[in-house]
Symmetry: C2
Subunit: 197 residues, 2 copies
């Protein structure tokens, strides 16, 4: 039995909605078949809408003192927009993630949208500054696009350049087939009120 806000079948459900995003983009079925699919999506919407949180997942989780990241747009296991990114940390403070981006992340034809590259880099650089229960906010982020990033399997890496009080100076990059396509540097800040806690 599940409790409020817990999603018993969440992993298969989120995975299926993620696949559905891709399939709506790439389908070539006729209108009648699309309409039949739409009827199923509407039925799923009605079922899931029987009881919902009033705000975001994070707001709900904070109010119920649970972990807040399941709805996160980059890493959330309930968020079908999230690839999701699985962020790994090694012993040296380096953070990395391998991710396969398909049709749903397209900008220029056949390429990852430049803004999706910045989204991933913001998250992974920011992850170098996060501490358990002490999330960091982006202060600045500077991106250099060295070559186009083809859709497919990417590696995102980041590391701490130096730290100063509540500020972490991070650097990072995206690699496609071993070549750096975008590099980034940024300053990430842990809020004062959390710092004092």
């Amino acid at each position: 039995m599940t409790t409020d806000g817990e999603l018993g079948a969440h992993e298969p459900l989120t995975e299926s909605v993620r696949a559905l995003i891709d399939r709506v983009i790439r389908t070539k079925v006729d209108t009648a078949t699309q309409e039949a699919a739409l009827a199923h999506v509407s039925a799923a919407l009605n079922l899931l809408g029987e009881r919902t949180m009033p705000d975001s997942f994070g707001m709900h989780a904070m109010a119920t003192h649970g972990p807040t990241t399941a709805g996160n747009v980059v890493i959330g296991e309930r968020n079908a927009i999230a690839p999701p990114l699985i962020v790994e940390r090694d012993g040296t403070g380096q953070v990395s993630a391998d991710v396969d981006l398909g049709a749903a992340y397209e900008g220029p034809v056949g390429h990852v949208h430049g803004g999706v590259c910045s989204l991933l880099l913001d998250h992974v650089l920011g992850a170098t500054a996060h501490r358990p229960g002490r999330p960091a906010y982006t202060g600045t982020l500077q991106l250099r696009y060295l070559r186009p990033t083809l859709l497919g399997r990417l590696r995102v890496e980041a590391w701490v350049e130096h730290e100063q009080g509540r500020k972490t100076y991070a650097r990072g990059r995206i690699l496609r087939d071993g070549n750096v396509t975008v590099d980034a540097q940024g300053i990430f800040i842990r809020p004062r009120d959390v710092d004092a806690g």
Copy 2:
């Protein structure tokens, strides 16, 4: 009757999947109800999967000489990840978009993910450089986060600072309740081969 790659019921279908992303995040229904919803999502997946494009929408559209943006992650009318952003241009070259971001775009609790801010700014700054049939690629992008961006209704604005050959120097910002939360500057480049065409 629809032809290859045309999505007859695409607007309601994409809209419904967009709503479904949000509802999977915010639902509080029990496991049995989630499983019933999952069965409907699987049925929709099967129907839409009867015929699909082999690659991304953009690759398919380029091969068939159609417009390529319907699958775009920020503006695509077939892409449920896209809010979608409706980009407006006034007579002076200013570009803007009003958008309402809900639970699916969350980063820090109750706030828009910093990387989603960069995604929107990349797109809107880049739009100042786009010409019909001549998309621009991001060269550099610099972001300053001035205050947290609450989920809800945002305005994204950008304008050309100056142009030099194939390069457009653009500036822009995100406003929430009239306050600038993030400002940005970037260089966007139209590819040489397109320029020569």
